[in-house]
Point group: C2
Chain length 154, copies 2
């Protein structure tokens, strides 16, 4: 665990964050114009937010479908007794699993899987079936694509 210095999310910082969430490649100059500060001031604020862990990184948003993964599924995984650690390792080693959360309740894990086609499901599920009960839901539509929550009461 790294120490996380606090940073104040004042108006300018929120504007900067919002702009960088929408386009991580926004130039300092553009940001500076938006918030009415100089470019070096904006740079320093970004540096502080990075250091405080508010900004964790900058990622290109790549279409999995364009990469050949036309299907996605959400798989709930309930490990068989004593198999929890082994299930966790198996999941981690499956590159088709693009996200997995450990959760409360009967299903210990909920994983998001990308697939080239439905036949690909077996590639993921077969190795799991000796370790866990699974329940698979194929994604028909991204009803709400990943989006940022609002700022909590300020």
């Amino acid at each position: 665990m790294s120490f996380v210095r606090k940073v104040t999310l004042d108006g300018p910082n929120r504007t900067i964050l919002g702009a960088l969430m929408a386009d991580a490649r926004t130039s300092l100059r553009t940001l500076a114009d938006k918030v009415g500060l100089s470019a070096p001031a904006v740079r320093e604020r970004i540096r502080q937010m990075e250091e405080a862990g508010v900004i964790q990184g900058y990622a290109a948003d790549v279409s999995w479908a364009a990469l050949g993964y036309g299907l996605q599924a959400i798989v709930r995984i309930e490990p068989l007794p004593g198999k929890l650690r082994e299930v966790e390792r198996t999941l981690q080693d499956m590159p088709q699993i693009v996200q997995c959360d450990g959760v409360t309740g009967d299903d210990c894990f909920i994983a998001r899987v990308v697939l080239r086609d439905v036949a690909d499901l077996d590639v993921v599920l077969d190795p799991l079936h000796v370790l866990a009960r699974t329940s698979t839901a194929v994604i028909k539509k991204a009803t709400i694509p990943l989006r940022a929550p609002p700022y909590p009461d300020s």
Copy 2:
């Protein structure tokens, strides 16, 4: 639906994509050095991948916990008969829902929710309970943080 021109994901393009996924702010110059092309050539390849929809955008990765949302949950939602459209609209209007997928199976929707604390769950679930059956799993640990899948067989 926009027309999507095809683009070849050859070696250089994969290297560029990989670098931009890891750091969307990587400079053209650095990318050019990595792939052994000139900066304008890299720029043109990026432009083509953007146009083809392979690169959908560039986003700053902001910590929801740092924004005050220390908890996340995954909620499965099974609308009551005839309430599907209303459920969908309700979900869309809840800013705490940062992602939601329409899926096959009994649960029509699977949503990812951010919360300030457990009490916040009611804010999300109460309006839903007149429209749907819900099943909530609080996230204990991000076993696998969002990551990119491998390139399909080339």
